[in-house]
């Protein structure tokens, strides 16, 4: 129990989190590549071509993981928002603002790759059906959160306001997820669920799971990188940054001597 409490406090303190994140980054990068490369190879080369869609279905290997991540990232932000508001943990606020760009990017990738998939398959770059529209709304919500945070000069207030907005937006997630069930829609229904046997062929499924895992590590990588950058930028006047900079400067002096 003590070790849990110890790590809880460490993760919440910049002095501990910053170097810890720095040490994790190479490992996370390695894991990202470890899943990305086989995933890409299997997805682009060895997975058998789809009966109806031919080779174009391979777009699924970026489109679906990106769409999944766009929602997972938002869900993580929402949990962090609860932590930030209820327990007033500042690191949670930093986590949220560091997640917004990558989350929005995943939504953008999903929308654009979806358009490139939709054009040859269903004849249209875009339709205003429930899933596409709600994913687009998700992108706008991400951008709104970013705009709100940047509008405040005081980052503490900004963090709280952003947490509130994030929680208000979380209602959008079930709408996207269930939109294909609730409405008659052009978009394909879910073939991979948490509980049922997936209705997709195993040779097509494995690269998809590899890419999905790779994207999770990608999110973690970008999150760590962005949090370190934001922490330095926001805490520039604080003691822990001073210590880090001065340690660095001493190191450089020693190297020159």
């Amino acid at each position: 129990m003590n070790i849990i409490i110890k790590w809880y406090y460490r993760l919440g303190a910049p002095l501990w989190f910053y170097p810890l994140a720095g040490k994790l980054i190479p490992w996370v990068t390695a894991l990202f590549l470890l899943f990305l490369i086989p995933g890409l190879y299997m997805g682009l080369v060895t997975a058998p071509a789809d009966y109806q869609q031919g080779e174009s279905f391979r777009i699924m290997y970026v489109h679906v993981p990106a769409a999944w991540m766009s929602m997972l990232v938002y869900f993580a932000m929402a949990i962090a928002a609860v932590v930030a508001l209820v327990w007033r943990v500042r690191m949670a606020e930093i986590m949220i603002i560091s997640s917004v760009p990558i989350g929005a990017s995943f939504a953008l990738i999903a929308l654009l790759t979806g358009a490139f998939w939709g054009k040859p398959m269903w004849g249209a770059w875009w339709v205003w059906d429930a899933r596409l529209t709600s994913e687009l709304i998700l992108l706008f919500i991400y951008l709104g959160i970013l705009a709100l945070y940047n509008a405040f000069e005081d980052k503490k207030t900004a963090g709280k306001a952003m947490s509130i907005l994030t929680l208000v937006g979380v209602v959008n997630l079930p709408i996207i997820h269930y939109s294909v069930v609730w409405w008659n829609t052009l978009h394909q229904a879910a073939t991979v669920t948490a509980f049922d046997k997936p209705s997709i062929h195993i040779d097509m499924l494995i690269p998809l799971l590899l890419m999905a895992t790779a994207f999770k590590f990608l999110f973690l990588l970008v999150l760590l990188l962005k949090m370190r950058a934001n922490l330095i930028e926001q805490d520039i006047h604080s003691g822990w940054v001073k210590k880090i900079i001065q340690d660095k400067q001493k190191l450089e002096e020693n190297n020159h001597v």
């Binding site: 080779e55 990738i109 654009l112 790759t113 970008v222 990188l225 950058a229 520039i236 900079i245 660095k248």
Partner: protein, 51 residues
């Protein structure tokens, strides 16, 4: 190899998709690295002024 690029006639769509994804992902990796570098540099300048 050319079959690989052609993707059964869908080459333009498949490679555009993967290309877009690659560009966006790279941007998301490079931007924080640059941001971090800049922030460190500003901090460095700030604390060099003091001494």
């Amino acid at each position: 190899m050319s079959e690989f690029i052609n993707m059964g006639g869908y080459g333009f769509y498949v490679w555009s998709s993967f290309g877009i994804a690659a560009v966006v992902i790279l941007a998301n990796i490079i931007e924080p690295i640059l941001h971090h570098k800049n922030a460190l540099k500003e901090a460095d300048d700030f604390y060099s002024e003091e001494s």
